[in-house]
């Protein structure tokens, strides 16, 4: 049968033999990581020099975080997807436990009014970053285990949402509005993909929307952030400060940017230039061209993840399929939200730019996600080889 396959489609055979890994995805992710290192260095240098007397203060830490992240990615690649499927729920429960720990005074560390970190020696653990990945794995495994309930019963939707809701509530208490939103949106998109019935879906969406609106209205600083996003020039020195500075950065960039390292906005005007507003620095220094390449790279990663998921589904691996698509949605969503916040089309939230922003947890979880994608891709390739080509697969491969 193998021989028959080969004779039928020699072009495909060559490609499969050559690529045991999804090299385009790997190259794209590594490229984003390297680009992130360059941009974090550029964005943080003047701040680092002023605060710590060493312009490479943040760069060195970023390099260390990258080392850690690549190691974590390597380890995650070595873990079989079956392991994630079996223990996914427990990992998610454990991460909810850590989210509780963060909120206990004395354990969690407060920075700028938010308690998001647990100090672990030189490293600060930020569980809300990891929870996003683990929630996808948990929901994926749930959807596989309860595949029959998913489409027929409302509980198929509600049960996973209970745990997700607890995690979301804990993250909101930190408070971390952006991460909550991205996590819930990802999980709901995943459930939607998995065929959950629309009625509870719409209902819950309404409840969440109402809750979020209430939260925004009741919590003045978020309200200020929302109004700042609508018109940052209304109050450009208070609530609209960060965004207006970010917009100025983009405006200065024009087509090709002011040149790497020549940005002005990062010099004490733009708070969080090396973390949440890194895209603004890229926009200023590398212009529209740099931004288009960046957005293109994220779109590519998203598309690649979803297509891996579709191929996994085709070889009857629903868990891997859901995980891959979930990761794709999550990375796409988070990058869109981050850049969208930077250019002022979405309200200001504390979200990192995946693979680029300074922050070890974000890098680690990003690398793990890519590693899991690569692992799934490798598995799918193997299964495809074993099963032989299927006509129904062509459109997914295109």
């Amino acid at each position: 049968m193998t021989a028959a396959v080969r004779s039928r489609n020699p072009g495909k055979r060559r490609r499969e033999n050559r690529a045991a890994l999804d090299y385009p995805l790997l190259v794209c992710a590594l490229g984003l990581l390297a680009f992130g290192l360059v941009m974090v260095s550029s964005a943080s240098m003047s701040i680092a020099e002023r605060c710590c007397g060493d312009p490479f203060f943040y760069t060195m830490r970023h390099v260390m975080a990258l080392t850690l992240a690549l190691t974590a990615g390597f380890v995650a690649y070595k873990v079989p997807t079956a392991w994630w499927e079996r223990y996914g729920s427990w990992i998610f429960l454990a991460s909810i436990g850590i989210l509780v720990l963060v909120l206990i005074p004395g354990i969690g560390r407060e920075v700028n009014g938010a308690i998001r970190w647990i100090p672990l020696g030189p490293l600060n653990l930020q569980p809300s970053e990891l929870v996003k990945l683990f929630a996808i794995i948990y929901v994926a495994s749930y959807m596989v285990r309860h595949a029959d309930k998913m489409t027929s019963q409302i509980s198929g939707f509600i049960r996973p949402m209970v745990l997700i809701g607890i995690a979301a509530a804990l993250i909101l208490m930190q408070p971390d509005f952006g991460t909550t939103a991205v996590m819930i949106a990802t999980v709901m998109a995943l459930l939607y993909l998995g065929g959950a019935s629309l009625m509870p879906f719409v209902f819950l969406l309404g409840v969440i929307a109402t809750g979020l609106v209430a939260l925004v209205v009741l919590s003045p600083y978020r309200w200020a952030r929302v109004t700042a996003f609508l018109d940052p020039w209304q109050d450009p020195y208070a609530s609209g400060y960060q965004l207006s500075q970010g917009l100025i950065a983009f405006g200065r960039g024009e087509w090709l940017g002011v040149g790497l390292g020549n940005g002005i906005q990062k010099q004490f005007f733009l708070p969080e230039a090396h973390t949440d507003f890194l895209a603004a620095v890229i926009g200023e220094e590398l212009g529209l061209l740099g931004m288009m390449l960046l957005i293109g790279a994220f779109a590519f990663v998203t598309w690649r993840a979803i297509s891996i998921g579709m191929r996994a589904e085709a070889v009857k691996r629903p868990f891997e399929s859901y995980v891959a698509q979930g990761i794709g949605i999550w990375l796409g969503l988070q990058s869109v939200v981050n850049i969208g916040v930077n250019v002022g089309i979405l309200p200001t939230k504390g979200l990192t730019l995946p693979f680029l922003s300074y922050g070890s947890n974000s890098l680690i979880v990003g690398c793990m996600a890519i590693a899991i994608l690569l692992r799934i891709d490798a598995l799918v390739r193997q299964l495809e080889r074993e099963a032989g080509p299927k006509r129904g697969l062509r459109w997914a491969r295109a």
Partner: protein, 587 residues
């Protein structure tokens, strides 16, 4: 097989999840839409809205800021600094960063020699601000100490700004001439004001990027480079100035005088070598003292010159060949009626010759000499030696004195003009007039700025008297400093000195009543070939002695003695030293 699987899926879709593919497509479309609208948003900001955003940016980070520039240095004729701008630093801090670090506040206060408690209170009071001045205009060494503290404790938010502070090494010795600047580094008095245009530094202008804390982060472009002020070399000699100041201060103190002034001129160049006043002030310290301390009396205050005018009257008469030094003048009986007024001598000197009139300072004699001339002759000599006109040193507040035109004179005024009443002059004008006699009749403009080679070459004098007349007058004035004259106390061993005393009654509200005098001595050394002219005026000596010969002449003697040594001027009269030796051996 393939057909079967497709059919199977379709069947399954119909039963339980009819639109799974559709859902995926919806989601993919939604994500694609998100990416596309994101790109559109970026395009809008970067290309369409760019002008507005760049303008907004420029409003925030671009500032035109001044670059501190150094004001010109003022030195004496030998390059000794008299007014210098020293770089200083202003230390600022972000109070929020210091709030919890009490030890750092103490360390900072220690480095700046401040009270730690007060600094702490200042930090706490401004804790909501981003910026406070810790201390303004500190010395470089203090700034270094602060930088050490910052490095040691890894402090944040401490900033430094470069400024200049004016410092006057000459202190009270030069205070009146130099003047001082205000906090904005602009000249307020004296040379600092007169030469402000040259001295003042033009701060540069640059576009700088300022961070949110208002501090300069980076220079974008320099619009105008800073232009440091031009240095200025004065004609004053620091050593002579010190000496003159010391002796004048001692005399003012000794005679319990109200004030005093002294001027030394270089005969050959018209340069002012020393100009001192009492009382004085220290421009480096509190300048709250009034104008009594601050005025440069040598230029701003006028006096009636009194008997110091007599050599000029004689010179004018000699020039007109109306008299010779030996012409006899009858001064008996010691007074002389001019109209309804009477001119008096201190004693009845009987019959004197012209030289004797100068030696004894006879008012009667000099009036009789003056009466041989027309009003205009007397007025001309006074006018030509510079009375009634500012000297041209360009000093702020300089008085030109008062010399009324002869067409308005009455006979008695003509008489009083001859012995120095009815006109007023400044000490510098008097010194300038005497320098005409000293320079063989040539008047050269006086200056407070050192003449360089080019300016010396271009220096032109106007001839006022013939050299012969000047020599004759000098010979007469030498007799004043002799044992027979009124200023024996001006004698300098080894040198021939010449001069004239003056003791003018000060005019008050009720005329020339009351015992208020101005004791003056004006003279030059060495008498044969004068090099230096000096005028000393002591205002209202409070002691018993008030004559120019006893109050002002000793100051001349002490200062000139030192000056002759300072300038290596060879002795021109070896005889007195032999006489002195003779006297000493006889004792």
């Amino acid at each position: 097989m393939a057909t079967h699987s497709r059919r199977g899926r379709r069947v399954a879709s119909r039963r339980s999840k009819p639109n799974l593919v559709l859902r995926r497509r919806v989601l993919t479309a939604a994500l694609s839409l998100a990416f596309v609208s994101l790109s559109a948003g970026v395009f809008y900001r970067q290309i369409i809205e760019t002008d507005f955003l760049q303008e907004q940016g420029a409003l925030r980070y671009l500032r035109a800021a001044e670059i501190a520039a150094r004001r010109g240095m003022i030195t004496d004729r030998n390059g000794e600094p008299l007014a210098v701008s020293t770089p200083v630093e202003t230390v600022s801090a972000n109070p929020g960063k210091l709030l919890d670090d009490s030890a750092a506040v103490s360390a900072l206060a220690g480095a700046l020699d401040m009270d730690a408690e007060r600094l702490r209170a200042k930090v706490i009071a401004n804790k909501d601000r981003q910026f406070i001045y810790v201390k303004r205009r500190v010395t470089l060494s203090e700034a270094e100490a602060v930088k050490a503290v910052v490095a040691e404790r890894k402090l944040e938010g401490i900033g430094f700004e470069k400024e200049y502070r004016r410092y006057y090494p000459g202190a009270e010795f030069f205070a009146h001439v130099i003047g001082f600047t205000d906090i904005e580094d602009r000249g307020q008095e004296g040379i600092e004001l007169a030469y402000d245009d040259a001295l003042k530094a033009e701060p540069g202008l640059h576009h700088v990027i300022r961070d949110g804390r208002g501090r300069v982060v980076q220079e974008v472009e320099q619009i105008r480079p800073p232009r440091p002020g031009t240095d200025l070399t004065l004609s004053l000699d620091r050593r002579l100035q010190f000496l003159a100041h010391r002796e004048l201060a001692a005399a003012v103190k000794e005679h319990r005088a109200k004030a005093g002034t002294a001027v030394v001129l270089d005969v050959a160049t018209g340069e002012v070598l020393a100009m001192v006043n009492q009382p004085s002030f220290n421009p480096n310290m509190d300048r709250s003292g009034g104008s009594e301390q601050r005025r440069n009396r040598a230029l701003t205050d006028v006096m009636e010159p009194g008997s110091t005018m007599k050599p000029l009257v004689v010179a004018a008469a000699l020039e007109k060949r109306l008299i010779s030094p030996r012409t006899p003048i009858a001064t008996a009986p010691g007074y002389y009626k001019v109209g309804r007024n009477t001119v008096r001598d201190v004693h009845n000197y009987g019959s004197l010759d012209v030289t004797g009139v100068i030696t004894k300072s006879s008012n009667v004699g000099v009036v009789k000499i003056a009466q041989r001339m027309a009003y205009s002759d007397l007025w001309h000599i006074y006018d030509q030696v510079g009375f009634g006109h500012p000297t041209g040193v360009g000093f702020p507040g300089e008085s030109g004195g008062l010399l009324r035109h002869y067409s308005n004179w009455r006979p008695f005024e003509h008489a009083t003009m001859a012995f120095g009443y009815g006109l007023s002059v400044t000490a510098l004008q008097l010194a300038q007039a005497y320098s005409v006699i000293a320079a063989d009749g040539v008047k050269r403009p006086v200056t407070l700025v050192k003449r360089d080679a080019a300016s010396l070459a271009a220096l032109k004098g106007t001839s006022v008297l013939s050299p012969a007349t000047a020599r004759k007058v000098r010979a007469m004035m030498e007799t004043v400093v002799s044992d027979k004259g009124t200023a024996a106390k001006a004698q300098i061993t080894g040198y021939r000195a010449a001069g004239k005393t003056g003791t003018a009654k000060k005019a008050g509200k009720s005329g020339y009543r009351g015992r208020r005098y101005q004791s003056v001595f004006a003279g030059f050394v060495p008498a044969g070939q004068p090099r230096l002219v000096m005028v000393v005026m002591i205002d209202e000596p409070g002691g018993k002695s008030y004559y120019g010969g006893t109050v002002a002449a000793p100051v001349f003697q002490k200062v000139m003695q030192g000056a002759l040594r300072l300038f290596n001027i060879p002795p021109d009269d070896p005889m007195p030293s032999m006489l002195l030796a003779h006297r000493e051996s006889a004792q």
